[in-house]
Each structure stands twice: as C-alpha cells, then as structure tokens.
C-alpha cells in the first residue's frame, strides 16, 4: 500500500504499470575511482636522511658525554666530602665502642666470677689481628 502511495502515476490502470523505483547511479554514471599508485620521487634522498640522522645522533651522544662529565664531577664532590668527614665519624664510633666494650667486659667478669680458669675478654680467635666482636653484643646503647 505504501508502494502505491510512492510510485503512483496519473492514468494508471493496474499496479503492473507502476514505474520502477530503484536506487541507482546518478545520470552520467559515477565518477571514476582512482586506484593507481602515486608515490612521488621528490623529497630528500637516502644520503641526506642518513647524514641528518647521523648529525642528530652525534649531537645527542655529545650531550650524553657532557652530562657524564658533569655527573662525575658531582660524584667527586660528594666523595671528597665523605672522605673529609670519615675520620671524625670513625673516631667517634671508636670511642663509643671502647666505652661499651668496657661495660661489656665488666658484665662478663661479674657473670663469670665463679668460673675457674675463665679469662675475661679472651679472644675466640687464634690470630692476633683485630677481629670485630663475634657475638654482636656491643650495642648496649641502642636498647
């Protein structure tokens, strides 16, 4: 029924006389579609691109070298400062260690007073070289 409303013409006697209504091309046909390749040969050549890329990379690596020099200088400054400070900190720690060791030895003497043949502060090693304490007990002032 809607077909009749759309495709009706004057003087029609039957639906077989309705004109054909199709979706079709415009008059003259569609314009031609281009499918051929068009890759131009203009622009910089390979040598030019290579040279520009090399220049950029070289500049970047040069900047990397400069940066490394700067970082080395910063590290040097930091290490020189630490070298200057190290003896003071070590001396303080030595004094603290000796104080704590005295307390530790007194405690050991008190505990082992009744044990015959016990040498207070005897080294557990045979060597005469300095060895840091084996039992990690000289940290009394951190409790």
């Amino acid at each position: 029924m809607t077909e009749l409303l759309i495709r009706r013409r004057k003087g029609m006697t039957s639906v077989k006389e309705m004109p054909v209504l199709q979706d079709g091309p415009p008059p003259g046909g569609f314009p031609a579609v281009r499918y051929a390749r068009r890759i131009p040969n203009s622009g910089p050549g390979g040598v030019a691109i290579f040279l520009v890329a090399s220049a950029v990379v070289s500049y970047g690596l040069y900047q990397v070298g400069q940066g490394n020099g700067k970082r080395r200088a910063y590290k040097q400054e930091k290490f020189e400062a630490r070298k200057a400070i190290l003896p003071f900190i070590q001396a303080e720690e030595d004094a603290r260690f000796v104080r704590e060791k005295q307390k530790y030895l007194e405690e050991e003497a008190r505990i082992m007073a009744n044990v015959p043949g016990w040498k207070v502060g005897e080294s557990v090693y045979h060597t005469k070289k300095w060895r840091p304490p084996a039992a990690r007990r000289i940290y009394a002032d951190y409790q």
């Binding site: 910063y74 400062a81 070298k83 200057a84 070590q90 300095w130």
Partner: protein, 110 residues
C-alpha cells in the same frame, strides 16, 4: 638578649649532624688534614679501636674546633647552608647559592 650583667653564656657546643658536617667538609679537609691523615694511617696499620684512641681524640677536637670557629665567624651563612643541605638530603648541586655565600663569608684561607 637583655641580661648582660655578668650572666654566663653557655659555651657553644657544635651539633654534628650529617648536614652540618657535609657543609663544612672543605674546612675539615683543609684545617684538619694532618690529624685526619694520622688517624687513618693508624687505622690502616691496626684496625683495633683501642689502639688509635689518642689520634681519634685529635681528630674529634680539631673537627669541633673548626665548627666552633665557623660558628663565631659566619653563623648565619653556616646555618643557612646546613639547613639547605638538611632539606635537600646533602645534595651539593641543590644548594649552590648557600654554598657560595658560605664560602664567601668564611673562606678557607682564614
């Protein structure tokens, strides 16, 4: 301070935090070179702490005297530099301004 009539001022005791020590490192390297070297040579010879106590005392007293002298000569610049170092975690390159002012106020040749 208003009380000037004979009131004893407490002697300045340097606070040896890492930022203060790092701020004054060039002065330690310059003024306490001999004591530091002697102590480190002693430690290299014998790492036993009890053997190098006297040289360690030299190092400690030299360091503290350097800090006292810096406090007398340029307290403001020293405190500003130490505060900046404390804020930035002992990064020298972030405290260049304060470092310059400190080194102008208390040069190493003093």
């Amino acid at each position: 301070m208003s009380s000037e009539e004979g009131a004893a001022v407490a002697p300045y005791i340097p606070v040896t935090t890492s930022s203060v020590l790092m701020s004054a490192n060039k002065h330690f390297a310059h003024f306490c070179r001999a004591q530091n070297k002697a102590f480190l040579d002693c430690k290299r010879a014998d790492p036993n702490p009890e053997k190098c106590l006297h040289k360690g005392l030299d190092v400690t007293s030299c360091t503290l005297s350097v800090l006292k002298e810096l406090h007398e000569k340029c307290p403001k610049e020293m405190d500003a530099y130490a505060k900046c170092m404390d804020y930035y975690g002992n990064e020298f390159k972030l405290c260049r301004k304060q470092q310059q002012e400190f080194e102008n106020a208390c040069p190493l040749k003093a």
